[in-house]
């Protein structure tokens, strides 16, 4: 590992690497790797999004023949898998984690830059494998790939296993890397309770990543082994059990939903104080509730299996644990709302996305509690109610968080602002279209429309038509962002080091940051959110402090 001096915070600054390849392709610089993540998973976001639009086209009217059932099944399976493993997780951990976390703890790079590069380069092949599986007949059993179908299905499913296995290894490595970085490489004086909340979120996510994801990898390996060598793990006719897969899969995939939402929590907790110009309300509550959520999340997996014939005495504890998760989550939401109180709120586009996040995520959280209660879940399970719920937390939660973060940290990443007016239009379009798309699905589900169907009872026609049309608008709203990004790269207003007047460490250095982030390692004197007090850092470039004191916005 030729990374020893990079990894070492106090070591002297080495010259930046020369040559295009070392600089931009096989780079060890966490900022470059972050950008690589953003671009790659942005690409997959477009592909998976198109699949979603395709699904909605098929569902525009009952007995539609745009897609034949097989293609439809492939479409929603790959859409789900790609959105979860190729978009949300890589953007939040790989993208924002890499870009922001080391800067916020005042480190010059992550602990193992070489591993960091490795875990990025495991990611594009995985995506290619997943989308390539269309050639052999893509997986058809949804992103959860329940046996026996996933065992009987087309060879593409083996490619799916391989793809997600790679992702699993990649995010295990990332998690391990980040956790070591946060534990060992914080700037002098940055105690745990002086860390920005995004770092807290990243730490907890990293923990979940390297604990839970190992388990995902093994359950995929087992599925692969069964498909290849016909051993009877999930084969009930030879003593195996299809339910075993559900246990192993959800033992990962429930923590995974927190892997997907916690970084978004972190982003929200960063943006609110900056835009509201006041300390975050209940710093400790928000920080520790993340830890609580992470710990409990390992004991709730069977709430995805309430109709899988588990004994009642097994279902009960899982129901209770699931309801317990709602409490720390509620604490977070209430704290964020309270942080708005008595502020000096600036309605910038990042804040708008954060407010959208608060409203939609609260709704998704409440439907989550409804799904936690076993009897209610028995009615709702496997219907469009689930689809609505998971899109409210993953799209309304994670993706709104992602866009908030993009608008917020774009200047730090590129040195140029995104256009605010476009950003606000983008938000309103996306917010309205989002709710029009997913809110009606709750009713569809409760009234009896099952999920993963290529056609449906004609009585649901008008609602589905409305949903489809809103879905197209939602898709179109993404074009606005794409235009905005491209436009800003050329004509975007030059951002100073600290355009929002924020107080966390990443804003104390020029944007985009230099190769080694900090000329002098800063010394942290107190928490980051005390607006109105002098900046809590020593050894920070003085003119940066000037810039921070007088926000350009």
């Amino acid at each position: 590992m030729a990374t020893i001096e990079l990894a070492h915070p106090a070591s002297h600054i080495h010259p930046a690497p020369e040559g295009f390849v070392r600089k931009y392709i096989f780079s060890l610089d966490h900022k470059v790797i972050a950008v690589q993540y953003f671009i790659t998973s942005g690409l997959f976001f477009v592909l998976a999004g198109l699949l979603a639009e395709l699904i909605r086209v098929q569902l525009m009217q009952p007995n539609n023949t745009v897609l034949d059932p097989a293609t439809f099944n492939e479409a929603f399976s790959v859409h789900g898998s790609a959105m979860v493993w190729l978009v949300v997780i890589p953007i939040l951990t790989g993208g924002f984690g890499n870009l922001i976390m080391p800067l916020q703890i005042g480190a010059r790079d992550v602990a193992f830059p070489w591993l960091n590069m490795l875990s990025f380069w495991l990611f594009p092949p995985a995506g290619i494998l997943l989308f390539g599986s269309f050639l052999l007949g893509a997986p058809q059993a949804g992103w959860t790939e329940y046996p026996p179908i996933s065992v009987l299905a087309s060879p593409g499913t083996s490619m799916w296993c391989a793809a997600i296995f790679l992702i699993g290894v990649s995010s295990t490595i990332t998690g391990l890397n980040f956790l070591v970085t946060i534990i060992k490489m914080r700037a002098p004086g940055m105690t745990w309770t002086r860390m920005p909340l995004f770092v807290w979120a990243s730490a907890v996510t990293a923990f979940l990543n390297f604990i839970a994801t190992a388990n995902l990898s093994i359950s995929l390996a087992v599925l692969f082994i069964q498909r290849t060598f016909h051993v009877p793990f999930y084969d009930e006719t030879r003593g195996g059990s299809p339910v075993l897969w559900q246990h192993m899969f959800w033992f990962y995939s429930h923590p995974a939903v927190y892997i997907m939402i916690l970084p978004a929590f972190g982003i929200v907790s960063e943006i609110i104080p900056t835009m509201v110009r006041r300390p975050i309300f209940g710093y400790k509550a928000i920080a520790y509730s993340s830890v609580a959520i992470a710990l409990v999340s390992f004991m709730v997996w069977a709430h995805h299996m309430f109709t899988s014939g588990l004994a009642q005495w097994i279902q009960l504890p899982f129901m209770i644990m699931t309801m317990i998760v709602a409490i720390p989550t509620g604490v977070k939401v209430f704290s964020w709302v309270a942080s708005l109180w008595g502020g000096r709120i600036r309605f910038t586009s990042p804040l708008l996305f954060v407010l959208g996040f608060l409203s939609t995520f609260t709704f998704g959280g409440i439907t989550g509690v409804m799904l936690a209660s076993v009897p209610a879940d028995v009615h709702e399970h496997g219907t469009y109610f689930i689809v609505a719920h998971l899109h409210y937390v993953l799209f309304g939660g994670s993706m709104f968080g992602v866009f908030a973060g993009l608008y917020y940290w774009w200047p730090k990443m590129t040195g140029r602002m995104l256009d605010e007016r476009l950003g606000k239009i983008h938000f309103w379009l996306m917010f309205v279209a989002f709710n029009c798309t997913f809110l009606p699905m709750h009713w569809l589900g409760l009234l009896g429309m099952p999920r993963r169907v290529a056609t449906y009872d004609p009585i649901y026609w008008h609602t589905n038509l409305f949903v489809s049309i809103s879905a197209f608008v939602l898709g179109a709203s993404m074009l606005l962002f794409a235009y905005n990004a491209i436009h800003s790269a050329r004509y975007g207003k030059r951002a100073g080091p600290n355009p929002w007047g924020a107080r966390t460490l990443e804003w104390m250095i020029p944007s985009p940051p230099p190769y080694y982030n900090f000329k002098e390692l800063p010394v942290v004197l107190s928490g980051p959110y005390d607006y109105g007090k002098p900046l809590p850092y020593r050894d920070v470039d003085p003119d940066m402090i000037e810039a921070a004191a007088m926000p350009a916005y």
């Binding site: 590992m1 030729a2 020893i4 001096e5 990894a7 070492h8 915070p9 106090a10 070591s11 602990a111 193992f112 295990t172 998690g175 391990l176 890397n177 956790l179 070591v180 534990i183 060992k184 490489m185 390297f210 604990i211 994801t213 190992a214 388990n215 990898s217 093994i218 359950s219 087992v222 082994i225 069964q226 060598f229 016909h230 051993v231 009877p232 793990f233 030879r238 003593g239 195996g240 059990s241 075993l244 246990h247 192993m248 033992f251």
Partner: protein
């Protein structure tokens, strides 16, 4: 790589070592989750089966496995002694015992292979849940042991090249920890498959 390590001053090396050590321990933790969930699967299937082991096969020979386990456990001890040698800067002791460890490790793997091919009819076994979990778990463990052997050979060569010194030998520490980890996993597997 090591050349860099030697360029660092002691404090820098200590910090560097701590970072690496923590990372390596985290790796071991997630690796044990790897085995843990497979063991969960094994226990789940065993629990679900009406009769265990499934009809048509009987448990593998426990006594051969016991000898084999002792070979592996012994290698754990020799590895520890080797490390002690390095800590006290006794090269002879180190080289001797690490070679012993490598030999024992190889012995263990060959014992496993012998068991696979001469005691348990693979095809017959692989059709049962017992066989499936047995081959997957012991196979993965065997893979870990083989990797460990290669790891040991590498560090041995590096040591002979003089990469590691009395107080700068993180590579060796890592190899030792990994080797002990592999032993411990086998304790669990031996108990689950042969005794329990």
């Amino acid at each position: 790589m090591a050349s860099h390590a030697l360029t660092l001053d002691d404090r820098a090396y200590a910090e560097q070592r701590d970072i690496r050590l923590l990372g390596f321990l985290f790796f071991l933790i997630s690796d044990s989750i790897f085995f843990g969930s497979l063991i969960f699967a094994y226990l789940y299937l065993r629990n679900a089966a009406p009769v265990w082991p499934p009809p048509g096969i009987e448990r593998p020979d426990v006594y051969l496995a016991a000898v084999n386990s002792i070979v592996l456990f012994g290698s754990g001890v020799t590895m520890h002694v080797a490390m002690e040698g390095m800590r006290r800067d006794r090269r002879g002791q180190f080289v001797g015992f690490i070679v012993a460890t490598i030999v024992l490790g190889t012995l263990f793997v060959s014992g496993q292979i012998y068991e696979y091919w001469h005691i348990l009819p693979v095809t017959k076994w692989a059709a049962t849940t017992f066989g499936a979990s047995f081959y997957t778990l012991t196979g993965m463990h065997g893979f870990h042991v083989s990797v460990g052997v290669i790891f040991l050979i590498t560090v041995l060569i590096q040591t002979l090249r003089g990469t590691y010194t009395k107080d700068r030998h993180f590579g060796l520490t890592a190899a030792t920890l990994y080797w002990h980890f592999v032993d411990i996993i086998w304790v669990a597997l031996f108990f689950l498959f042969y005794v329990y």
